[in-house]
Protein backbone atom coordinates (compact mmCIF):
# COMPACT_ATOMS: atom_id res chain seq x y z
CA UNK A 1 0.00 0.00 0.00
CA UNK A 2 2.78 2.44 0.97
CA UNK A 3 4.60 1.57 -2.25
CA UNK A 4 1.48 2.32 -4.32
CA UNK A 5 0.81 5.60 -2.49
CA UNK A 6 4.41 6.65 -3.07
CA UNK A 7 4.05 5.84 -6.77
CA UNK A 8 0.81 7.85 -6.95
CA UNK A 9 2.70 10.77 -5.38
CA UNK A 10 5.39 10.48 -8.06
CA UNK A 11 2.79 10.22 -10.84
CA UNK A 12 1.07 13.36 -9.55
CA UNK A 13 4.39 15.21 -9.41
CA UNK A 14 5.38 14.20 -12.94
CA UNK A 15 1.89 15.06 -14.27
CA UNK A 16 2.04 18.49 -12.60
CA UNK A 17 5.38 19.15 -14.29
CA UNK A 18 3.91 18.12 -17.63
CA UNK A 19 0.86 20.36 -17.19
CA UNK A 20 2.97 23.34 -16.20
CA UNK A 21 4.89 22.94 -19.47
CA UNK A 22 1.78 24.15 -21.31
CA UNK A 23 0.55 27.37 -19.74
CA UNK A 24 -2.23 28.01 -22.30
CA UNK A 25 -3.94 24.80 -21.19
CA UNK A 26 -4.57 26.32 -17.79
CA UNK A 27 -6.87 29.06 -19.12
CA UNK A 28 -8.69 26.73 -21.52
CA UNK A 29 -9.28 24.22 -18.73
CA UNK A 30 -10.62 26.93 -16.47
CA UNK A 31 -13.02 28.08 -19.19
CA UNK A 32 -14.17 24.50 -19.81
CA UNK A 33 -14.87 23.96 -16.10
CA UNK A 34 -16.85 27.17 -15.77
CA UNK A 35 -18.88 26.36 -18.90
CA UNK A 36 -19.67 22.86 -17.65
CA UNK A 37 -20.71 24.23 -14.29
CA UNK A 38 -22.60 27.24 -15.74
CA UNK A 39 -24.67 25.34 -18.30
CA UNK A 40 -25.69 22.75 -15.72
CA UNK A 41 -26.74 25.36 -13.18
CA UNK A 42 -28.41 27.60 -15.74
CA UNK A 43 -30.52 24.67 -17.00
CA UNK A 44 -31.80 24.01 -13.47
CA UNK A 45 -32.51 27.69 -12.73
CA UNK A 46 -34.53 28.07 -15.94
CA UNK A 47 -36.44 24.86 -15.22
CA UNK A 48 -37.30 25.61 -11.62
CA UNK A 49 -38.28 29.19 -12.43
CA UNK A 50 -41.37 27.65 -14.07
CA UNK A 51 -42.21 24.77 -11.72
CA UNK A 52 -41.81 23.83 -8.05
CA UNK A 53 -40.95 20.20 -8.69
CA UNK A 54 -40.72 17.71 -11.58
CA UNK A 55 -41.83 14.15 -10.88
CA UNK A 56 -41.16 14.62 -7.19
CA UNK A 57 -37.77 16.34 -7.60
CA UNK A 58 -37.48 19.90 -6.33
CA UNK A 59 -34.67 22.40 -6.96
CA UNK A 60 -32.53 21.43 -3.95
CA UNK A 61 -32.51 17.68 -4.63
CA UNK A 62 -31.95 18.23 -8.38
CA UNK A 63 -29.06 20.53 -7.44
CA UNK A 64 -27.66 17.66 -5.36
CA UNK A 65 -27.71 15.44 -8.48
CA UNK A 66 -25.82 18.14 -10.38
CA UNK A 67 -23.35 18.37 -7.49
CA UNK A 68 -22.73 14.61 -7.57
CA UNK A 69 -22.46 14.73 -11.39
CA UNK A 70 -19.84 17.51 -11.25
CA UNK A 71 -17.91 15.75 -8.44
CA UNK A 72 -17.83 12.34 -10.15
CA UNK A 73 -16.93 14.02 -13.46
CA UNK A 74 -14.12 15.90 -11.70
CA UNK A 75 -12.68 12.68 -10.24
CA UNK A 76 -12.80 11.15 -13.72
CA UNK A 77 -11.01 14.20 -15.17
CA UNK A 78 -8.51 14.18 -12.30
CA UNK A 79 -6.92 10.79 -13.01
CA UNK A 80 -9.21 8.00 -14.33
CA UNK A 81 -9.87 9.74 -17.65
CA UNK A 82 -6.33 10.99 -18.39
CA UNK A 83 -4.77 7.64 -17.37
CA UNK A 84 -7.14 5.40 -19.34
CA UNK A 85 -7.27 7.82 -22.30
CA UNK A 86 -3.48 7.55 -22.58
CA UNK A 87 -4.00 3.89 -23.50
CA UNK A 88 -6.71 4.38 -26.07
CA UNK A 89 -7.19 6.19 -29.36
CA UNK A 90 -4.88 6.74 -32.29
CA UNK A 91 -1.40 7.27 -30.88
CA UNK A 92 -2.59 5.78 -27.59
CA UNK A 93 -0.31 3.29 -25.87
CA UNK A 94 -2.25 0.25 -27.19
CA UNK A 95 -2.29 1.47 -30.78
CA UNK A 96 1.31 2.68 -30.83
CA UNK A 97 2.68 -0.33 -28.94
CA UNK A 98 4.05 1.73 -26.05
CA UNK A 99 2.16 -0.55 -23.70
CA UNK A 100 5.23 -2.78 -24.16
CA UNK A 101 7.08 -0.71 -21.57
CA UNK A 102 4.14 -0.76 -19.15
CA UNK A 103 3.93 -4.53 -19.37
CA UNK A 104 7.59 -4.81 -18.46
CA UNK A 105 7.16 -2.88 -15.20
CA UNK A 106 7.00 -4.92 -12.01
CA UNK A 107 3.74 -3.25 -10.99
CA UNK A 108 0.10 -4.21 -11.36
CA UNK A 109 -0.90 -3.13 -14.87
CA UNK A 110 -4.43 -2.13 -13.88
CA UNK A 111 -3.07 0.08 -11.09
CA UNK A 112 -0.55 1.68 -13.46
CA UNK A 113 -3.14 2.18 -16.22
CA UNK A 114 -5.61 3.82 -13.83
CA UNK A 115 -3.36 6.17 -11.84
CA UNK A 116 -0.32 7.09 -13.88
CA UNK A 117 -1.59 10.33 -15.51
CA UNK A 118 -3.16 13.19 -13.56
CA UNK A 119 -4.86 16.38 -14.71
CA UNK A 120 -4.48 18.53 -11.66
CA UNK A 121 -6.56 21.40 -13.03
CA UNK A 122 -9.56 19.14 -12.41
CA UNK A 123 -9.15 20.02 -8.72
CA UNK A 124 -10.96 23.22 -9.68
CA UNK A 125 -13.91 21.14 -11.01
CA UNK A 126 -13.80 19.12 -7.82
CA UNK A 127 -14.11 22.30 -5.77
CA UNK A 128 -17.04 23.45 -7.92
CA UNK A 129 -18.74 20.06 -7.51
CA UNK A 130 -18.22 20.14 -3.74
CA UNK A 131 -19.52 23.71 -3.65
CA UNK A 132 -22.71 22.76 -5.52
CA UNK A 133 -23.17 19.77 -3.19
CA UNK A 134 -22.70 21.95 -0.11
CA UNK A 135 -25.25 24.44 -1.45
CA UNK A 136 -27.71 21.59 -2.16
CA UNK A 137 -27.29 20.17 1.36
CA UNK A 138 -27.81 23.68 2.77
CA UNK A 139 -31.00 24.09 0.69
CA UNK A 140 -32.30 20.67 1.76
CA UNK A 141 -31.81 21.80 5.35
CA UNK A 142 -33.25 19.62 8.12
CA UNK A 143 -34.08 16.80 5.70
CA UNK A 144 -30.37 15.82 5.72
CA UNK A 145 -29.50 13.85 8.86
CA UNK A 146 -26.15 12.33 9.87
CA UNK A 147 -27.23 8.83 8.80
CA UNK A 148 -28.41 10.26 5.46
CA UNK A 149 -24.98 11.81 4.99
CA UNK A 150 -23.24 8.50 5.74
CA UNK A 151 -25.49 6.65 3.28
CA UNK A 152 -24.79 9.43 0.76
CA UNK A 153 -21.01 9.01 1.15
CA UNK A 154 -21.27 5.22 0.80
CA UNK A 155 -23.37 5.57 -2.35
CA UNK A 156 -21.08 8.27 -3.74
CA UNK A 157 -18.14 5.89 -3.23
CA UNK A 158 -19.89 2.93 -4.82
CA UNK A 159 -21.11 5.19 -7.65
CA UNK A 160 -17.50 6.20 -8.34
CA UNK A 161 -16.40 2.58 -8.37
CA UNK A 162 -19.23 1.76 -10.80
CA UNK A 163 -18.19 4.71 -12.93
CA UNK A 164 -14.53 3.63 -12.90
CA UNK A 165 -15.51 0.02 -13.71
CA UNK A 166 -17.51 1.05 -16.77
CA UNK A 167 -14.62 3.22 -18.01
CA UNK A 168 -12.15 0.38 -17.42
CA UNK A 169 -14.40 -2.10 -19.25
CA UNK A 170 -14.68 0.20 -22.26
CA UNK A 171 -10.92 0.65 -22.24
CA UNK A 172 -10.51 -3.14 -22.08
CA UNK A 173 -12.61 -3.48 -25.23
CA UNK A 174 -9.86 -1.55 -27.03
CA UNK A 175 -7.76 -4.71 -26.99
CA UNK A 176 -10.32 -6.28 -29.30
CA UNK A 177 -10.69 -3.24 -31.49
CA UNK A 178 -7.97 -0.65 -30.96
CA UNK A 179 -9.54 1.83 -33.39
CA UNK A 180 -12.87 2.15 -31.54
CA UNK A 181 -13.17 4.83 -28.90
CA UNK A 182 -15.74 2.97 -26.80
CA UNK A 183 -15.37 5.29 -23.82
CA UNK A 184 -16.57 8.26 -25.92
CA UNK A 185 -19.96 6.56 -26.25
CA UNK A 186 -20.21 6.18 -22.49
CA UNK A 187 -19.06 9.73 -21.82
CA UNK A 188 -21.84 10.93 -24.14
CA UNK A 189 -24.43 8.95 -22.20
CA UNK A 190 -22.98 10.16 -18.89
CA UNK A 191 -24.01 13.71 -19.86
CA UNK A 192 -27.58 12.58 -19.15
CA UNK A 193 -26.64 11.86 -15.54
CA UNK A 194 -26.66 15.55 -14.64
CA UNK A 195 -30.44 15.27 -14.15
CA UNK A 196 -32.34 12.75 -11.95
CA UNK A 197 -33.18 9.62 -13.98
CA UNK A 198 -36.84 9.96 -12.96
CA UNK A 199 -37.03 12.98 -15.26
CA UNK A 200 -36.59 10.77 -18.31
CA UNK A 201 -39.38 8.72 -19.98
CA UNK A 202 -39.98 5.11 -18.76
CA UNK A 203 -37.82 3.02 -21.16
CA UNK A 204 -34.90 5.43 -21.09
CA UNK A 205 -35.14 5.65 -17.30
CA UNK A 206 -34.84 1.87 -16.97
CA UNK A 207 -31.91 1.78 -19.41
CA UNK A 208 -30.11 4.56 -17.54
CA UNK A 209 -30.55 2.73 -14.23
CA UNK A 210 -29.78 -0.87 -15.14
CA UNK A 211 -28.15 -1.07 -18.58
CA UNK A 212 -25.83 1.94 -18.56
CA UNK A 213 -25.98 2.63 -14.83
CA UNK A 214 -25.50 6.39 -14.82
CA UNK A 215 -28.55 6.67 -12.53
CA UNK A 216 -26.79 4.59 -9.90
CA UNK A 217 -23.79 6.91 -10.15
CA UNK A 218 -25.53 10.28 -9.63
CA UNK A 219 -29.25 9.98 -8.79
CA UNK A 220 -28.96 7.40 -5.99
CA UNK A 221 -26.42 9.31 -3.85
CA UNK A 222 -28.51 12.49 -4.22
CA UNK A 223 -31.62 10.55 -3.17
CA UNK A 224 -29.75 9.32 -0.10
CA UNK A 225 -29.43 12.90 1.18
CA UNK A 226 -33.17 12.98 1.87
CA UNK A 227 -33.30 9.37 3.10
CA UNK A 228 -35.07 8.26 -0.04
CA UNK A 229 -33.01 5.10 -0.65
CA UNK A 230 -34.43 1.75 0.56
CA UNK A 231 -31.92 -0.59 2.28
CA UNK A 232 -32.30 -3.13 -0.52
CA UNK A 233 -31.36 -0.53 -3.14
CA UNK A 234 -28.32 0.45 -1.06
CA UNK A 235 -27.15 -3.17 -0.86
CA UNK A 236 -28.00 -3.68 -4.55
CA UNK A 237 -25.89 -0.71 -5.62
CA UNK A 238 -22.94 -1.90 -3.52
CA UNK A 239 -23.29 -5.34 -5.08
CA UNK A 240 -23.47 -3.78 -8.57
CA UNK A 241 -20.31 -1.76 -7.91
CA UNK A 242 -18.43 -4.87 -6.68
CA UNK A 243 -19.68 -7.01 -9.58
CA UNK A 244 -18.86 -4.39 -12.21
CA UNK A 245 -15.41 -3.78 -10.71
CA UNK A 246 -14.63 -7.52 -10.74
CA UNK A 247 -16.05 -7.99 -14.24
CA UNK A 248 -14.26 -4.95 -15.66
CA UNK A 249 -10.94 -6.00 -14.10
CA UNK A 250 -11.36 -9.46 -15.59
CA UNK A 251 -12.21 -8.03 -19.01
CA UNK A 252 -9.21 -5.68 -18.88
CA UNK A 253 -6.83 -8.47 -17.89
CA UNK A 254 -8.26 -10.82 -20.54
CA UNK A 255 -7.81 -8.01 -23.07
CA UNK A 256 -4.19 -7.58 -22.01
CA UNK A 257 -3.52 -11.18 -23.04
CA UNK A 258 -4.75 -10.32 -26.52
CA UNK A 259 -2.34 -7.41 -26.79
CA UNK A 260 -0.09 -8.27 -29.66
CA UNK A 261 2.09 -5.17 -29.41
CA UNK A 262 2.63 -2.94 -32.41
CA UNK A 263 5.06 -4.25 -34.98
CA UNK A 264 8.62 -2.99 -34.97
Amino acid sequence: MRYHLKLIGLFIRASAQQELAYRANFLISLLHSLLNFGTGLLGLLVLFEQVEAIRGWDFASTLAVLGVYLTVGAVRDLFIGPSLDALTGINGDIWAGRLDFTLMRPVDIQFWSSFRQWRLLAVFDLALGAGVLAKAIFELGAAVTASHLITFLILLGSGMITFYAVQLAFTGLMFWNPGMLFSWVFNGIFQMARYPVRLYPGGLRLALTWIVPVGVITTLPAQALTGDVPALTLVGSLFLAAALFTGASLLFRTGLRRYASASS
Partner: protein
Protein backbone atom coordinates in the same frame (compact mmCIF):
# COMPACT_ATOMS: atom_id res chain seq x y z
CA UNK B 1 29.70 -26.02 -18.09
CA UNK B 2 27.69 -23.13 -16.64
CA UNK B 3 23.91 -23.24 -16.62
CA UNK B 4 22.54 -21.19 -19.56
CA UNK B 5 20.72 -17.99 -18.58
CA UNK B 6 18.42 -18.12 -21.60
CA UNK B 7 17.02 -21.36 -22.99
CA UNK B 8 14.59 -21.47 -25.90
CA UNK B 9 13.02 -24.74 -27.06
CA UNK B 10 10.78 -25.21 -30.09
CA UNK B 11 9.42 -21.69 -29.67
CA UNK B 12 6.72 -20.69 -32.17
CA UNK B 13 4.38 -17.75 -32.57
CA UNK B 14 1.50 -17.46 -35.00
CA UNK B 15 -0.41 -14.19 -35.40
CA UNK B 16 -4.01 -14.08 -36.56
CA UNK B 17 -4.14 -11.17 -38.97
CA UNK B 18 -7.39 -9.72 -40.42
CA UNK B 19 -7.40 -9.68 -44.22
CA UNK B 20 -9.43 -7.71 -46.71
CA UNK B 21 -9.20 -6.53 -50.28
CA UNK B 22 -8.53 -2.92 -51.20
CA UNK B 23 -11.41 -0.51 -51.74
CA UNK B 24 -14.46 0.84 -49.93
CA UNK B 25 -16.73 -2.08 -50.81
CA UNK B 26 -14.28 -4.56 -49.32
CA UNK B 27 -14.07 -2.42 -46.17
CA UNK B 28 -17.87 -2.46 -45.80
CA UNK B 29 -17.98 -6.23 -46.42
CA UNK B 30 -15.32 -6.75 -43.76
CA UNK B 31 -17.58 -5.05 -41.23
CA UNK B 32 -20.08 -7.86 -41.59
CA UNK B 33 -17.72 -10.74 -42.17
CA UNK B 34 -14.08 -10.68 -41.29
CA UNK B 35 -11.58 -13.07 -42.73
CA UNK B 36 -8.35 -13.87 -40.99
CA UNK B 37 -5.04 -15.22 -42.08
CA UNK B 38 -2.59 -17.06 -39.85
CA UNK B 39 0.94 -15.69 -40.12
CA UNK B 40 3.66 -17.78 -38.55
CA UNK B 41 6.18 -15.25 -37.27
CA UNK B 42 8.47 -17.70 -35.42
CA UNK B 43 8.81 -21.42 -36.18
CA UNK B 44 10.25 -23.93 -33.73
CA UNK B 45 13.43 -22.08 -32.86
CA UNK B 46 15.98 -23.40 -30.35
CA UNK B 47 18.98 -21.71 -28.78
CA UNK B 48 20.58 -20.99 -25.44
CA UNK B 49 22.81 -18.24 -24.03
CA UNK B 50 25.41 -18.27 -21.28
CA UNK B 51 25.36 -15.49 -18.70
CA UNK B 52 27.42 -12.50 -19.84
CA UNK B 53 27.25 -13.26 -23.57
CA UNK B 54 26.49 -10.61 -26.19
CA UNK B 55 24.64 -12.20 -29.07
CA UNK B 56 23.55 -10.56 -32.31
CA UNK B 57 20.10 -11.52 -33.47
CA UNK B 58 20.07 -10.83 -37.19
CA UNK B 59 17.69 -11.30 -40.08
CA UNK B 60 15.78 -9.25 -42.66
CA UNK B 61 12.66 -7.22 -41.81
CA UNK B 62 9.79 -9.46 -40.76
CA UNK B 63 12.13 -12.38 -39.98
CA UNK B 64 10.71 -12.83 -36.47
CA UNK B 65 13.49 -11.18 -34.42
CA UNK B 66 11.33 -8.69 -32.56
CA UNK B 67 8.59 -11.27 -31.99
CA UNK B 68 11.16 -13.59 -30.40
CA UNK B 69 12.52 -10.78 -28.24
CA UNK B 70 9.00 -9.83 -27.14
CA UNK B 71 8.29 -13.41 -26.12
CA UNK B 72 11.51 -13.46 -24.09
CA UNK B 73 10.50 -10.18 -22.41
CA UNK B 74 7.11 -11.61 -21.50
CA UNK B 75 5.22 -9.22 -23.77
CA UNK B 76 3.82 -11.96 -25.99
CA UNK B 77 2.58 -15.46 -25.24
CA UNK B 78 4.01 -18.03 -27.65
CA UNK B 79 1.71 -20.27 -29.66
CA UNK B 80 3.84 -23.25 -28.64
CA UNK B 81 7.25 -24.09 -27.22
CA UNK B 82 9.15 -23.16 -24.09
CA UNK B 83 11.53 -20.48 -22.92
CA UNK B 84 13.30 -19.83 -19.66
CA UNK B 85 15.18 -16.64 -18.85
CA UNK B 86 17.13 -16.32 -15.60
CA UNK B 87 15.14 -19.25 -14.23
CA UNK B 88 11.72 -17.75 -15.04
CA UNK B 89 9.08 -18.31 -17.70
CA UNK B 90 8.96 -14.84 -19.26
CA UNK B 91 5.25 -14.60 -20.13
CA UNK B 92 4.27 -15.34 -16.52
CA UNK B 93 5.73 -11.86 -15.91
CA UNK B 94 6.58 -12.32 -12.25
CA UNK B 95 7.75 -9.16 -10.51
CA UNK B 96 11.13 -10.69 -9.67
CA UNK B 97 11.68 -11.60 -13.32
CA UNK B 98 10.70 -8.16 -14.61
CA UNK B 99 13.22 -6.58 -12.23
CA UNK B 100 15.98 -8.68 -13.80
CA UNK B 101 15.38 -7.74 -17.44
CA UNK B 102 15.10 -4.64 -19.57
CA UNK B 103 14.50 -3.71 -23.17
CA UNK B 104 15.49 -0.80 -25.35
CA UNK B 105 13.54 -0.25 -28.55
CA UNK B 106 14.97 2.04 -31.19
CA UNK B 107 11.53 3.03 -32.42
CA UNK B 108 9.69 3.49 -29.12
CA UNK B 109 10.34 5.72 -26.16
CA UNK B 110 9.72 5.15 -22.48
CA UNK B 111 10.66 8.70 -21.53
CA UNK B 112 8.08 11.22 -20.34
CA UNK B 113 8.15 13.72 -23.14
CA UNK B 114 7.53 17.10 -21.50
CA UNK B 115 9.75 16.83 -18.45
CA UNK B 116 13.52 16.40 -17.92
CA UNK B 117 14.92 12.85 -18.11
CA UNK B 118 15.98 12.94 -14.46
CA UNK B 119 12.30 12.90 -13.43
CA UNK B 120 11.57 9.83 -15.55
CA UNK B 121 14.62 8.11 -14.02
CA UNK B 122 13.36 8.91 -10.50
CA UNK B 123 9.92 7.42 -11.20
CA UNK B 124 11.56 4.31 -12.67
CA UNK B 125 13.87 4.05 -9.65
CA UNK B 126 10.84 3.91 -7.35
CA UNK B 127 8.96 1.45 -9.55
CA UNK B 128 11.93 -0.92 -9.48
CA UNK B 129 12.51 -0.42 -5.71
CA UNK B 130 16.03 0.89 -6.30
CA UNK B 131 17.44 2.16 -2.95
CA UNK B 132 18.39 5.87 -3.01
CA UNK B 133 22.15 5.29 -2.65
CA UNK B 134 22.20 2.63 -5.38
CA UNK B 135 20.08 4.85 -7.63
CA UNK B 136 22.57 7.70 -7.31
CA UNK B 137 25.56 5.44 -7.88
CA UNK B 138 24.04 3.78 -10.95
CA UNK B 139 22.88 7.08 -12.41
CA UNK B 140 26.30 8.71 -11.91
CA UNK B 141 28.01 5.74 -13.52
CA UNK B 142 25.67 5.64 -16.54
CA UNK B 143 25.76 9.40 -17.02
CA UNK B 144 29.55 9.35 -16.97
CA UNK B 145 29.78 6.44 -19.41
CA UNK B 146 27.40 8.16 -21.82
CA UNK B 147 28.78 11.66 -21.17
CA UNK B 148 25.30 13.13 -20.82
CA UNK B 149 25.35 15.12 -17.56
CA UNK B 150 24.05 18.29 -19.23
CA UNK B 151 20.99 16.46 -20.65
CA UNK B 152 19.50 15.49 -17.30
CA UNK B 153 17.61 18.71 -16.72
CA UNK B 154 16.42 19.48 -20.27
CA UNK B 155 12.88 18.48 -21.34
CA UNK B 156 13.05 15.29 -23.41
CA UNK B 157 11.14 16.83 -26.31
CA UNK B 158 14.01 19.32 -26.80
CA UNK B 159 16.65 16.58 -27.12
CA UNK B 160 18.05 15.22 -30.38
CA UNK B 161 17.43 11.61 -31.41
CA UNK B 162 20.91 10.57 -30.27
CA UNK B 163 20.52 12.34 -26.92
CA UNK B 164 17.14 10.69 -26.42
CA UNK B 165 18.61 7.28 -27.11
CA UNK B 166 21.22 7.88 -24.38
CA UNK B 167 18.32 8.64 -22.04
CA UNK B 168 16.54 5.45 -23.14
CA UNK B 169 19.68 3.50 -22.22
CA UNK B 170 19.81 5.02 -18.73
CA UNK B 171 16.06 4.43 -18.25
CA UNK B 172 16.52 0.78 -19.21
CA UNK B 173 19.53 0.22 -16.95
CA UNK B 174 18.67 2.21 -13.82
CA UNK B 175 17.60 -0.99 -12.03
CA UNK B 176 20.75 -2.88 -13.10
CA UNK B 177 19.08 -5.65 -15.14
CA UNK B 178 21.10 -8.80 -15.69
CA UNK B 179 19.51 -9.52 -19.08
CA UNK B 180 19.23 -6.74 -21.63
CA UNK B 181 17.26 -6.91 -24.89
CA UNK B 182 18.28 -4.27 -27.42
CA UNK B 183 15.96 -4.01 -30.39
CA UNK B 184 17.64 -1.84 -33.01
CA UNK B 185 18.99 0.65 -30.48
CA UNK B 186 21.04 2.56 -33.06
CA UNK B 187 18.16 3.07 -35.51
CA UNK B 188 18.48 6.42 -37.26
CA UNK B 189 21.49 7.58 -35.27
CA UNK B 190 24.55 9.25 -36.82
CA UNK B 191 27.75 7.23 -37.14
CA UNK B 192 29.56 8.70 -34.14
CA UNK B 193 26.56 8.32 -31.80
CA UNK B 194 26.22 4.72 -32.99
CA UNK B 195 29.88 4.12 -32.14
CA UNK B 196 29.49 5.73 -28.71
CA UNK B 197 26.45 3.57 -27.89
CA UNK B 198 28.27 0.44 -29.03
CA UNK B 199 31.18 1.28 -26.74
CA UNK B 200 28.71 1.87 -23.94
CA UNK B 201 26.99 -1.50 -24.40
CA UNK B 202 30.37 -3.27 -24.46
CA UNK B 203 31.45 -1.42 -21.28
CA UNK B 204 28.19 -2.19 -19.51
CA UNK B 205 28.47 -5.85 -20.44
CA UNK B 206 32.02 -5.97 -19.08
CA UNK B 207 31.29 -4.10 -15.85
CA UNK B 208 28.04 -5.76 -14.88
CA UNK B 209 28.38 -9.11 -16.63
CA UNK B 210 24.95 -8.55 -18.19
CA UNK B 211 23.70 -10.84 -20.93
CA UNK B 212 22.78 -8.89 -24.05
CA UNK B 213 20.70 -9.86 -27.08
CA UNK B 214 20.98 -7.26 -29.82
CA UNK B 215 19.05 -6.92 -33.04
CA UNK B 216 20.31 -4.44 -35.58
CA UNK B 217 20.32 -3.85 -39.29
CA UNK B 218 23.66 -2.04 -38.99
CA UNK B 219 26.29 -4.71 -39.44
CA UNK B 220 28.85 -2.48 -37.69
CA UNK B 221 26.85 -2.99 -34.46
CA UNK B 222 26.98 -6.74 -34.85
CA UNK B 223 30.62 -6.92 -36.00
CA UNK B 224 31.87 -4.76 -33.11
CA UNK B 225 29.75 -6.17 -30.32
CA UNK B 226 28.73 -9.73 -31.04
CA UNK B 227 31.21 -12.62 -31.15
CA UNK B 228 28.19 -14.84 -31.76
CA UNK B 229 25.23 -14.33 -34.08
CA UNK B 230 21.89 -16.04 -34.45
CA UNK B 231 20.42 -15.68 -37.92
CA UNK B 232 16.68 -15.95 -38.30
CA UNK B 233 14.76 -15.83 -41.57
CA UNK B 234 11.02 -16.25 -42.17
CA UNK B 235 10.68 -17.30 -38.55
CA UNK B 236 13.23 -20.13 -38.72
CA UNK B 237 16.69 -20.23 -37.23
CA UNK B 238 19.24 -20.58 -40.04
CA UNK B 239 22.55 -20.16 -38.23
CA UNK B 240 23.87 -19.96 -34.68
CA UNK B 241 27.60 -19.45 -34.21
CA UNK B 242 30.54 -17.11 -34.74
CA UNK B 243 30.09 -14.29 -37.22
CA UNK B 244 33.30 -15.30 -38.98
CA UNK B 245 31.90 -18.81 -39.39
CA UNK B 246 28.86 -17.39 -41.11
CA UNK B 247 31.06 -15.51 -43.59
CA UNK B 248 33.22 -18.56 -44.28
CA UNK B 249 30.21 -20.78 -44.73
CA UNK B 250 28.33 -18.48 -46.98
CA UNK B 251 31.14 -16.77 -48.82
CA UNK B 252 33.75 -19.46 -49.56
CA UNK B 253 35.72 -16.95 -51.58
CA UNK B 254 38.08 -14.04 -51.11
CA UNK B 255 38.46 -10.75 -52.92
CA UNK B 256 41.81 -9.86 -54.49
CA UNK B 257 42.34 -6.15 -55.18
CA UNK B 258 45.05 -5.52 -57.75
CA UNK B 259 46.71 -2.36 -58.96
CA UNK B 260 48.73 -2.86 -62.14
CA UNK B 261 51.28 -0.81 -64.02
CA UNK B 262 48.99 1.36 -66.27
CA UNK B 263 50.99 0.91 -69.49
CA UNK B 264 50.99 -2.85 -69.42
CA UNK B 265 47.48 -3.29 -68.00
CA UNK B 266 45.58 -3.80 -71.30
CA UNK B 267 47.53 -6.96 -71.97
CA UNK B 268 46.57 -8.86 -68.82
CA UNK B 269 43.72 -11.01 -70.13
CA UNK B 270 45.79 -13.97 -71.19
CA UNK B 271 47.66 -14.01 -67.89
CA UNK B 272 44.65 -14.30 -65.52
CA UNK B 273 44.20 -17.77 -64.02
CA UNK B 274 41.04 -19.52 -65.29
CA UNK B 275 39.51 -19.97 -61.81
CA UNK B 276 39.13 -16.25 -60.98
CA UNK B 277 36.22 -13.98 -61.75
CA UNK B 278 36.73 -10.31 -62.62
CA UNK B 279 34.26 -8.26 -60.59
CA UNK B 280 35.52 -4.76 -61.41
CA UNK B 281 38.07 -3.35 -63.83
CA UNK B 282 38.97 0.29 -64.15
CA UNK B 283 42.23 2.08 -65.13
CA UNK B 284 44.55 -0.69 -64.11
CA UNK B 285 42.66 -1.47 -60.90
CA UNK B 286 40.97 -4.85 -60.69
CA UNK B 287 38.82 -6.66 -58.16
CA UNK B 288 38.93 -10.44 -58.56
CA UNK B 289 37.01 -13.18 -56.81
CA UNK B 290 38.71 -16.48 -56.06
CA UNK B 291 37.96 -19.61 -54.02
CA UNK B 292 39.33 -19.47 -50.45
CA UNK B 293 41.48 -22.58 -50.90
CA UNK B 294 42.98 -21.49 -54.22
CA UNK B 295 43.67 -17.90 -53.19
CA UNK B 296 47.36 -18.40 -52.12
CA UNK B 297 48.25 -20.14 -55.39
CA UNK B 298 46.38 -17.59 -57.47
CA UNK B 299 48.03 -14.63 -55.73
CA UNK B 300 51.44 -16.13 -56.28
CA UNK B 301 50.71 -16.66 -59.98
CA UNK B 302 49.37 -13.12 -60.36
CA UNK B 303 52.54 -11.68 -58.79
CA UNK B 304 54.71 -13.79 -61.13
CA UNK B 305 52.90 -13.04 -64.37
CA UNK B 306 51.53 -9.51 -64.08
CA UNK B 307 53.08 -6.05 -63.55
CA UNK B 308 51.63 -5.77 -60.03
CA UNK B 309 52.08 -2.45 -58.21
CA UNK B 310 49.84 -3.37 -55.25
CA UNK B 311 47.87 -6.46 -54.14
CA UNK B 312 45.43 -6.90 -51.26
CA UNK B 313 43.51 -10.05 -50.28
CA UNK B 314 40.38 -9.59 -48.17
CA UNK B 315 37.10 -11.17 -47.09
CA UNK B 316 34.00 -9.93 -48.89
CA UNK B 317 32.24 -7.10 -47.00
CA UNK B 318 29.91 -8.45 -44.31
CA UNK B 319 27.02 -6.40 -45.70
CA UNK B 320 27.37 -8.21 -49.05
CA UNK B 321 27.38 -11.59 -47.32
CA UNK B 322 24.33 -10.78 -45.23
CA UNK B 323 22.54 -9.36 -48.26
CA UNK B 324 23.22 -12.62 -50.07
CA UNK B 325 21.71 -14.59 -47.15
CA UNK B 326 18.65 -12.40 -47.00
CA UNK B 327 18.14 -12.73 -50.76
CA UNK B 328 18.74 -16.46 -50.98
CA UNK B 329 17.61 -17.42 -47.45
CA UNK B 330 20.01 -20.34 -47.11
CA UNK B 331 23.20 -20.96 -45.23
Amino acid sequence: MAQPIITVRQLSKTYRVPERDAGLLASIKSLARRTYNDVQAVRDINFSLEAGEIVGFIGPNGAGKTTTLKMLCGLLHPTSGEAEVAGYIPWQRSGVYLRRISMVMGNKSQMMWDIPPLDTFRVLGEIYHVPAAEFKQTLDELVELLDMGELLTRPVRNLSLGERMKCEMVAALIHRPSVLFLDEPTLGLDVSTQRRLRRFVADYNRRRGATVILTSHYMADVVELCPRVILIHQGSLLYDGALSGLVERLAPFKLIRLTLNQEQAPTIDGHLPPNVEVLERENGRLVLRAGRAETPAITSRLLDTLPVVDLVVEDPPIEAVIDQIYQEAKV
